[in-house]
């Protein structure tokens, strides 16, 4: 009878001791900062938690938050856009990204083990997606043609197609301007005409090499219908 009383008492003592150990265990909130988020749609995910990140009330400000549950010392974390997959080191699905933007964590570790660092601080940076601005140069035989899209970049030089004897053939040449970010305008113009020829720009959304990289252009994967037609100067 005495013994049977002592046994539960011992068990109780052990339970109290264990609880006091567990109560002191450090927990680590997973803090996140997102820079340059402009559009909704970003869902960050780790340790079975999803967090929908909305753009800041004031454009340009960072968004900071902590995941609802902190993790314990020794637990691992990996904060990714929900559904992002990496196969053999190659990104195969971007995950739940904001509209018109792609967010990544290029210079800061997004994964680790709680306790490795004093504090878990994840940093994501979002960039506005850019889309190709391309087309065709027709009839080019002279040298020195340069085209520009405003003043943002150095002009793009286009050389004529040459035959085996290095004579210009006038065959179509691909035109590749610098990619244009979503939501910005473009207006392609000839900065320098080729020797002996005059070139004019057509195509784009407005038919004269201009337009906006809008939803329709984004859906089409960019603007690829620029046409630069070169004829002999009169």
């Amino acid at each position: 009878m005495k013994f049977s009383l002592a046994r539960p008492a011992l068990a109780f003592a052990i339970t109290v001791t264990l609880a006091s150990c567990g109560g002191g265990k450090a927990t680590f909130p997973i803090n996140v900062t997102v820079t340059n988020l402009q559009y909704p749609g970003l869902i960050l995910s780790t340790n079975g938690m999803d967090y929908t990140v909305n753009p800041p009330a004031t454009t340009g400000q960072d968004v900071t938050f902590a995941f609802p549950n902190a993790i314990e010392y020794g637990q691992t974390y990996d904060v990714i856009p929900k559904g992002q997959t990496v196969t053999n080191g190659t990104l195969t699905a971007l995950g739940a990204q904001p509209a018109h933007q792609t967010c990544s964590s290029p210079t800061f570790p997004k994964s680790g083990t709680a306790g490795q660092l004093a504090k878990i601080d994840i940093h994501y940076v979002c960039a506005v997606n850019t889309f190709p601005l391309t087309g065709t140069v027709k009839g080019l035989t002279g040298t020195g043609l340069t085209l520009a899209n405003g003043s943002t970049y150095l002009p793009v030089t286009v050389s004529p197609a040459l035959d085996s004897a290095n004579a210009p053939t006038g065959a179509d040449v691909t035109l590749t301007m610098n990619p244009v970010p979503y939501g910005t305008t473009y207006g392609v113009t000839v900065v320098t005409q080729p020797t002996g020829q005059t070139c004019t720009v057509t195509g784009g959304a407005n038919g004269t090499g201009g337009g906006t990289m809008d939803d329709a252009a984004e859906k089409a994967g960019g603007v690829t219908n620029l046409v630069v037609t070169c004829v002999k100067s009169s």
């Binding site: 899209n149 405003g150 003043s151 943002t152 150095l154 910005t184 305008t185 113009t189 906006t212």
Partner: protein, 198 residues
């Protein structure tokens, strides 16, 4: 006696080996760095007043021809700046060479900018949008004449003013600029382009 001589020579030999391993011999460090805001020829850098090095296309980095040794003092200065720059400065250009200090060097220039103004006459009554690439300015409906300030343009950079949306059934003509049709390369003075819609 013997043992102390042996010890001394062994120690000095060891010291000499360590020192030569540290770069006491021929230079094995390359001095160079990143370059920002350079768009044309003309930037010349010097190290300790010599070894002139031109920064060439695509103007993103430089590298001195002469290598330096660990602990050599280097002092990189700007000997000449591009014509379209107002100033160029060297960051972390003066130090003793080691594997840390030689990777901290960079050069940044400030390019002169000039105003690009568009004088608009628009008798169509319909608003128009004027763009210089990504730089977009609206002229509201009913405004018949306006002077529109576009974002300033770097000297030596291209520009091309176009009308994004010409009112239906109307014509817009762009003139002026160094090519006469609203396009050109920014020179050393402010530029005005004319847009006329009717």
């Amino acid at each position: 006696m013997k043992s102390s001589i042996l010890r001394a020579s062994a120690v000095s030999l060891a010291c000499a080996l360590v020192l030569s391993a540290c770069g006491g011999g021929g230079g094995d460090l390359t001095l160079g760095g990143a370059v920002q805001n350079v768009t044309q020829d003309g930037l010349v850098l010097q190290n300790n007043g010599g070894d002139d090095t031109k920064v060439v296309y695509p103007y993103t980095s430089f590298q001195f021809g002469n290598r330096v040794s660990t602990d050599d003092q280097f002092n990189i200065t700007v000997a000449h700046i591009p014509d379209n720059a107002s100033e160029c400065h060297v960051n972390n250009g003066k130090a003793r060479a080691n594997y840390y200090s030689i990777y901290q060097i960079s050069v940044a220039c400030t390019i002169k900018q000039h105003a690009l103004t568009v004088e608009v006459t628009n008798s169509t009554g319909v608003g128009i949008t004027i763009v210089n690439g990504a730089d977009k300015k609206d002229v509201l409906a009913g405004v018949t004449s306006a002077s529109v300030s576009m974002s300033p343009v770097n000297e030596g950079s291209p520009y091309g003013i176009t009308v994004l949306s010409t009112p239906a059934g109307k014509t817009c003509t762009v003139s002026g600029g160094s090519n006469g049709n609203g396009t050109g390369t920014m020179g050393q003075v402010d530029t005005t382009v004319t847009v006329s819609c009717k």
